[in-house]
Structure formats: structure tokens, C-alpha cells
């Protein structure tokens, strides 16, 4: 398992800890995605606040990964999260996806479009 994707939106500490632990165990590169669905968020102040939060969460995970000597790549994208995840899974040849089962996502769509991959809900 050389490439793992962590969907960071709504990820709890235990979701992040699991992703880091797996990346460390398998010497994987950890891709960390924070997405902002601009079409759904009309309030500019809220969008601004979410973008701030997103980057801070990303760099917080990066800091933890660095301490554990885990290779990490931060990804911040605007768009529909299901579509972004599908595209990233393909383009970076991701083998495992880790996300919070309570994340604001169409989980069924993600599972159906990534049948060959390992999907860990935590």
C-alpha cells in the first residue's frame, strides 16, 4: 500500500491517527485532501473561514506526518468532493482511501466508483 488518501473534511483525530499509522506502517505516501465545494457555499465569509480552517488542518496533519517521517502531500481543491476523490484516486493511483463515515459525502457513490480500492471508514 504505497499511496493513501485521507479525506480531511470532517475527519476526527482518530481518522487522522489511523491514516498516519497506516502510512508509517506501510511506508506509504499520504495524500491529504481538503475540499471546498464553492458552488454549495454562497456566503463569502463562510467560504473564507472554511478555507482558513482547511489550510490549518492540512498543515497540522503535515506537521504530525513530519514528526513521524511520513511522506506527505497536501491537496486543497475546490469542487464536488466525490468527483475530486474519484479523480485523485485515479491520477495518483491511490490504493486506500480513509475517511470519516459521517463526512458530508455521498458515500455510496464513492464506494461504487472505487470498487477496486480499499476504503476505510473511521
Amino acid at each position: 500500500m504505497k499511496r493513501i488518501l485521507l479525506y480531511l473534511n470532517e475527519a476526527q483525530e482518530e481518522t487522522i491517527a489511523l491514516a498516519l499509522s497506516l502510512a508509517k506502517t506501510f511506508s506509504s505516501r499520504l495524500y491529504v485532501l481538503f475540499s471546498l465545494d464553492s458552488d454549495e457555499i454562497k456566503d463569502e465569509n463562510l467560504k473564507d473561514k472554511l478555507e482558513d480552517e482547511g489550510w490549518q488542518k492540512l498543515y497540522d496533519v503535515e506537521e504530525k506526518a513530519f514528526k513521524e517521517e511520513i511522506k506527505v502531500s497536501l491537496l486543497f481543491f475546490e469542487g464536488k468532493p466525490e468527483k475530486l476523490i474519484e479523480e485523485l484516486m485515479k491520477s495518483y493511483e491511490i490504493e486506500a482511501l480513509i475517511l470519516n463515515p459521517l463526512a458530508n459525502l455521498n458515500l455510496l457513490e464513492i464506494i461504487n466508483k472505487n470498487k477496486e480500492k480499499i476504503i476505510i471508514l473511521r
Binding site: 478555507e51 489550510w55 492540512l58 503535515e62 506537521e63 506526518a65 513530519f66
Partner: protein, 152 residues
């Protein structure tokens, strides 16, 4: 928390980077920090920043790279900036060379301020108009004025 324009050092702005390799650029910017008196132990500082570069890409795409390090060898949270006309390969995920390179250095005990600065700068540089204006800036004063203009 301090604004980016408050921690970006005017004396730490280099608008005509000639270095072609990532490591050379980091050393050039790091040496500027040393000459300005912000680094107490250059070996420790370069060790930290280069270790991070080996583990991850600090090229965040769109022609931007933000190499960074938190270390006891750094006296205060500061940013230095270099601009490369030719661009430097920072192994960005979008495959594009970095033209705007911001190096952030902070002391070990300023974790939240350091993460805040990284987040604010990354967010700021996603704006097309900021990158366009920074690429055109004629001097150090203009660089700081652009950052001030766009940061909220």
C-alpha cells in the same frame, strides 16, 4: 496572530533569484535569514528544512513553493521571499516550476502562529491576482504593499 505583511522581512526579499536548483534556492533564502540574525545555529536550521524537503513537496502548485521549518535554531517567526524568473523545480504536484518562493521559519515554541502563517500564506497565494502582481512587482516595497492589499 500577526499578519503575513508583518512577518515578511523587507530585507529578506530577493527579486532576481539566479539559482536553478531547489536546494540552492533554500540555501540562498536561508543564508539571508542568517545574515539578518534570525538563525542561531545554521546547521540545525538547514538540517530541519532540508529534512522536510526530502519528505514532502513544499511546492504547492500554481508556481508557488513554501519551504518551511520550525526549529530551536530560529529566533522568531519570519518569512523571506525569493522570485525566480526561470522557475525552480520544487516537485509540485501540478508539475509546474515555482517562481514565487516563500520560506517560513519559526521557533519550536510558536507552533500555532507558524501553522497560522502557513495557512494564511497558502490561502493568499491561491488568488490569481496576488500571483500576477507579485510576479510583476518592481521592488521590495511593492511586494509588501501587494501582500497588505490582499490579506484580510
Amino acid at each position: 496572530m500577526k499578519k503575513i505583511s508583518e512577518i515578511l522581512l523587507k530585507e529578506g526579499i530577493i527579486l532576481d533569484l539566479k539559482e536553478k536548483e531547489k536546494i540552492e534556492v533554500i540555501k540562498k533564502l536561508g543564508e539571508r535569514l542568517i545574515s539578518l540574525g534570525y538563525i542561531t545555529n545554521s546547521d540545525e536550521f538547514f538540517g530541519e528544512i532540508l529534512k522536510r524537503e526530502n519528505l514532502e513537496s513544499t511546492g504547492i502548485g500554481m508556481g508557488i513553493a513554501i519551504p518551511h521549518a520550525r526549529s530551536n535554531a530560529v529566533k522568531d517567526l519570519v518569512i523571506v521571499f525569493g522570485r525566480s524568473q526561470e522557475g525552480v523545480d520544487f516537485s509540485s504536484l501540478d508539475g509546474k516550476p515555482a517562481h514565487l518562493i516563500f520560506l517560513i521559519a519559526g521557533p519550536e515554541d510558536k507552533k500555532s502562529e507558524y501553522l497560522f502563517a502557513l495557512a494564511k500564506l497558502s490561502k493568499l497565494l491561491r488568488k490569481d491576482e496576488v500571483r500576477i502582481e507579485l510576479n510583476k512587482a518592481k521592488n521590495e516595497e511593492e511586494v509588501i504593499a501587494i501582500i497588505k492589499k490582499y490579506e484580510v
